[in-house]
Amino acid sequence: WNLYPPFLDFITYEYMIENVMLLLKGTISGRDINELMAQCHPLGMFRESTMRAIPTFESSPKGYQDLYQTVLVDTPVGPYFSLFLQDSADKAADGHIRNVLEEVEVEIIKSTLIKYWLEDFYQFCESIGGDTFTMMAEILRVRADTNAINITLNSFGTPLNEPSMRVADRKRLYPCIGYLYPAGTQMLIDVADEEGLGRALEFFPQYSGIWNVHSFGGAGDKSIDDAFYERDVQMLELAFEGQMHFGVFYAYVKLKEQEIRNLVWISECILQQQKDEINKFVPVFSQHAPWRLKKR
């Protein structure tokens, strides 16, 4: 009984991180705080005063330090932020010079926080043990791998892909859990382009399939995101239908998220008069899902 409230809290931390990042990013582009707060994910809400205080800090290492010390230290995501600060302090001590663009900076912070959250969540599930761990370990590992691959993929063409940054910064973003860790992530560090990424993923059958969807893009009309989502939905459906574990709650939230994504997709299609594309969403608990049709 004492375990499930923290489990539910853990689910919300992800959204809290996202909200903090949204607020930070929003202030860089100089948007109105009220407008930003309306966009925040309701599961990751802080107190109003906390949210209003976040954008008052400047986006510099000093500013983040202040942000943590005055505001975020009180919030559940504070520990992750402090880890991040520690991390960047270490790096600064190493003598690396960072000249990353501000926008990318925010993305890096976000990836780092999410990484710490994933690892923390994973450890928490491990401490619960039982079916919860069996279910959540699978989900979180895949989530970590997905993040690692996406980070690598999105870094191409940004300063993050420069050889010096790869080892110093990109490496730090890869979560320390998942099927890719450690051998896979080691390979990912040296990857410089899509071709290299494909080669690295060949050793992992579960991801090479998804990667092929991407590299032969256009064949199945599917993006790599869709392929990941499809995989997630299958896993989450399993978790949701399972019994005697807390993973249902996580699965419920994530499946709802997918449903919302689907609705957004459909309304986008209607808005842009693209009725042919309308069926390209990832169905949840549907008899017509592609992976179910294939089986029959």
Binding site: E48, S49, R52, A53, T56, T70, V71
Partner: protein, 908 residues
């Protein structure tokens, strides 16, 4: 009676009305509430329909009315009741100024729109004005508080603190000193202070109390402790201008040194939406005083304005509260009309056509209403309301209910709506449900409580009818007659069991007496009771119910269990047999010969030969004078006690003279006993078996042996019992295959005949290809159909045959619950009451509390619910599965009364 037994007859009609008169017609028909329109435009989305703009306008009006209701709520004004729905419907549609009936529909809506629009804008203006005023007022109040608090602070606390603060500006090491100074000796170093005239900047403002701690912490962190902050609470809570709620607030003052800290603090103030107020120079006392008085003056002024505004709003809301419900009803009615008009199709020029189900009896009335509406508007085009052939096979089911049958009908409807015109179980449920409840709940005392509650509800009927009741109370109100009936039957069964709070009542004088009852000691354990008058005589029978002596007898449970068990089986079999007969009635009514001959009759045969026979045996055993029969097989001494007892004569026996040859005695009919006679030899009846008729049988063994050992009956009750039972067994056994096979066989035959006829017809017309096609097609269908029919019939058969057995057992819950009830009551009485009564006055006082509480909670609440549920189950499952199809469609007529009542119950 027939109206309750079978649902109302329905007709499918088409209605053609002039477009101009359509609104009037529908508003009259809605008042009548007898017609259910079918959607003739199923392919159109709601937005493509004819009257969608009207519906939208109604929605907009509803939104406004909800807004009014919310505003009234903020002033704690309750929406006035607009009287009864009926009165509203019969009154002509008026808003506030009377309108003529010419084009009342659109006009009504329009004038209502204008009026509501006006009120809404008024209210909105007032609200925004009020928000502005409140803001201004709050600022004044806060400023006043800030000034007062600051003044106080600077006069009393500041000099003392300034001393300690100022001593410490040089090094970090000096911090310690400051702390010590602050604590120990603020007066010291005064000279030093004078020298260093150094000023701190300060920010003052107001922050919400609940944020105070976090605010303080954040400022401390942001400035790294390089500031000094003080709080003072504002006594009077301040109204939040947006929500109108009261908030506690605190005045704060922060002292700091550097400009960078100032920007930080200002940012934090903004984040906490804390108002900042700039203070005048505090050393300039007259300026401060001036500011205070000025502000006080302004405060008083704005308070007056604010109160005036509030007053105006309140009066407007009062006015709105008086009308809102009536307006809501008007809007709902108009909306219902346009919704239904949306189902109409445009016919030839200017006419609208609608179709729907109508109650046959009210058809003429509806026609007259429509004609009258047209005549009133002087429209030359005639309206039409004509019966059409049925478009689909099942018309909707509608029952006319009254306030007594309503609850029972809802009961049945909850399980399933009866098929159109099939036998309605509600009619029987109305009698059997409370009765079976009573059988389980049976207790005079507890039942009386229930009865009184029911009567109270009935007594307050009219008041409750018009009042808005909560969900719980509303349910009780709807079931008031049922509750009263349940209470009544519980009391009745309580008298039968002679059970009042688990005690027997000696009302008619008991017919038993204990052996040493009259001695000083009284009867003790092991005493026997004897009957006061002769066995079988009129005096020996307790006039109503059971003799109270049984309640103190040691074999109380044995006796009651036997009685209640038999009673439940008898009641159960009667009810199930009634259900089976209703199946027969349905078959006759719908003219389904196969069902009647091959389903109903075998079922009756099966149920009758085994289960009704069981009831017959039970009654027979009760009726036979076993004293006499057993005497018949008893060896007596002709000179001894008991010889010549009247018991034997009563049953037609004649005492025969007997010479006691062997000294063993002889039976009353003259058989001379030897040492080792068995009952067969001693009994004069000669019915066979071991008992030979003189032995009371064990009914369970007898019944089981009907099937297990058909050749003998161990303890018969009448002559030739074996033969009769074998015949009944044969009837039962043969009825099963008939039930299983006959109906599918005849159905198949009918289908084949139809097939032959059809193919003949086709051959006459002579299109070879078509024949091949047709036969091929139908062949497949038929195979499929026949298999399905057989499976269906097999299920039906198994369900009935096994069901009779298991359902009979299921009725034993009547006994089980009644036993549970009486045992619980006994335990509560003995443990809580009797034990404490024997201790002392004080304990008895407590004991009574416990007894009353537990009796109320467990017996009057939980046990009522439990018995209710079990009675419900007996009706839904055991009774209704014998005949009830429950696949009907509910008739939902277009009726304003329903629409408004639903809205009223939803809003409360």
């Amino acid at each position: 009676m027939t109206r309750w037994f079978r649902s109302e007859e329905m007709e499918y009609v088409s209605l053609i009305v002039n477009e101009d008169a359509a609104h009037q017609c529908l508003s009259d028909l809605g008042k009548l509430g007898v017609i259910q329109f079918t959607d003739l435009n199923p392919d159109l989305t709601p937005f493509q329909r004819r009257y969608v703009s009207y519906v939208k306008r109604c929605d907009e009006l509803e939104r406004k009315l909800r807004f009014f209701a919310n505003e009234c709520d903020r002033f704690d004004l309750t929406i006035d009741n607009a009287g009864t729905v009926d009165a509203f419907l019969n009154a002509p549609p008026v808003i506030s100024s009377p309108t003529n009936n010419g084009e009342s529909g659109a006009q009504l809506l329009e004038s209502l729109e204008v009026e509501l629009e006006q009120y809404e804008s008024q209210l909105k203006d007032l609200n925004s004005f009020s928000e502005k005023l409140t803001n201004e007022y709050n600022e004044k109040v806060e400023l006043q508080e800030v000034l007062e608090k600051a003044q106080k602070f600077f006069l009393s606390d500041a000099p003392r603190l300034a001393v300690s603060e100022l001593t410490t500006q040089t090094t970090a090491a000096a911090r310690q000193d400051r702390e010590i100074n602050l604590l120990n000796d603020p007066e010291s170093d005064e000279s030093l202070v004078r020298d260093m005239d150094m000023r701190f900047s300060s920010i003052t403002g107001v922050v919400a109390s609940e944020e105070k701690a976090r605010f303080e912490r954040m400022i401390f962190r942001a400035t790294r402790g390089n500031c000094y902050i003080r709080f003072a609470s504002i006594d009077e809570p301040i109204t939040d201008p947006e929500t109108g709620e009261l908030m506690e607030k605190h005045v704060f003052i922060v002292f700091y040194k550097s400009a960078s800290i100032e920007t930080k603090i200002k940012k934090i103030c903004d984040a906490f939406s804390a108002h900042r107020y700039s203070l005048p120079d505090m050393d300039d006392a007259p300026a401060v005083d001036r500011m205070l008085t000025e502000n006080a003056q302004e405060l008083a002024d704005s308070r007056i304005v604010l109160h005036k505004n509030q007053d105006t709003r309140f009066r407007l809301c009062q006015k709105l509260a008086a009308h809102t419900e009536r307006w809501t009803w008007i809007v709902l009615r108009e909306k219902a009309i346009y919704h239904n008009l949306n189902m109409f199709k445009a016919d030839v020029s200017g006419m609208l056509r609608g179709e729907g189900w109508i109650l046959s009896q009210q058809r003429d009335e509806a026609r007259m209403t429509v004609t009258k509406a047209h005549a009133n508007m002087d429209l030359s085009m005639a309206s039409l309301l004509e019966v059409m052939p049925l478009p689909w096979p099942t018309p909707p089911t509608h029952f006319t209910t009254n306030k007594f049958t309503y609850a029972y009908q809802e009961f049945v409807n909850t399980y399933g709506i009866p098929r159109y015109r099939e036998a309605n179980p509600a009619l029987f449920t109305a009698a059997t449900f409370p009765f079976l409840f009573g059988v389980m709940y049976g207790d005079i005392g507890h039942g009386l409580f229930l009865f009184v509650v029911g009567l109270l509800l009935i007594f307050n009927e009219e008041k409750n009818d018009n009042a808005r009741l909560g969900e719980m109370m509303g349910g009780l109100h709807a079931a008031r007659y049922m509750l009263a009936m349940m209470g009544f039957f519980a009391v009745y069964a309580g008298f039968l069991y002679n059970d009042c709070f688990s005690l027997g009542l000696d009302i008619f004088g008991r017919t038993w007496k204990w052996e040493n009852e009259d001695t000083d000691d009284g009867p003790d354990d092991g005493s026997e009771a004897y009957q006061l008058s002769d066995y079988g005589s009129d005096d020996s029978v307790y006039p109503f119910g059971l003799d109270p002596t049984w309640h103190v007898a040691e074999n109380e449970l044995l006796f009651f269990n036997s009685f209640k068990m038999k009673l439940s089986v008898i009641l159960g079999i009667f009810q199930m047999f009634l259900g089976t007969c209703l199946k027969g009635l349905n078959a006759i009514y719908f003219d389904q010969k196969l069902d009647f001959y091959y389903e109903f009759l075998p079922m009756v045969a099966f149920a009758g030969s085994l289960f009704v026979y069981m009831v017959v045996l039970i009654f027979m055993k009760w009726c036979i004078n076993w004293n006499s029969r057993m005497l018949d097989a008893t060896c007596l001494d002709p000179d001894g006690e008991g010889w010549g007892s009247s018991d034997y004569e009563e049953n037609g026996g004649v005492w025969v003279v007997c010479n006691n040859q062997y000294g063993e005695g002889c039976t009353p009919w003259g058989y001379t006993c030897t040492g080792d006679d068995d009952t067969v030899a001693k009994c004069s009846l000669d019915f066979g078996g071991d008992g030979d008729g003189c032995q009371p049988p064990n009914l369970i063994t007898t019944l089981i042996n009907i099937a297990l050992d058909p050749t003998t009956v161990e303890e018969p009750m009448y002559d030739n019992q074996v033969t009769y039972q074998n015949i009944l067994l044969l009837v039962a056994v043969f009825s099963v295959p008939i039930l299983l096979l006959a109906k599918p066989y005849f159905l198949k035959k009918q289908m084949e005949e139809a097939e032959v006829r059809r193919s003949q017809e086709v051959q006459v017309h002579g299109d070879e290809e078509e024949v091949a096609h047709a036969t091929g097609d139908h062949h497949g269908d038929e195979e499929h159909g026949a298999g399905e029919i057989i499976i269906h019939q097999a299920i039906e058969t198994i369900e009935f045959v096994l069901g009779m057995v298991s359902n009979t057992a299921s009725y034993l819950r009547l006994w089980a619950l009644s036993l549970a009830h009486s045992e619980l009551a006994t335990v509560f009485w003995e443990k809580a009451m009797v034990e404490t009564l024997n201790m002392n006055f004080f304990m008895a006082f407590f004991g009574y509390g416990i007894f009353a509480g537990v009796t109320f909670g467990v017996l009057l609440m939980m046990d009522v619910l439990e018995c209710f549920l079990h009675a419900l189950r007996l009706h839904w499952v055991e009774f209704q599965n014998k005949f009830f199809k429950a696949d009907g469609v509910r008739f939902t007529p277009f009726s304003f009364r329903d629409v408004l009542n639903e809205a009223a119950s939803g809003s409360s």
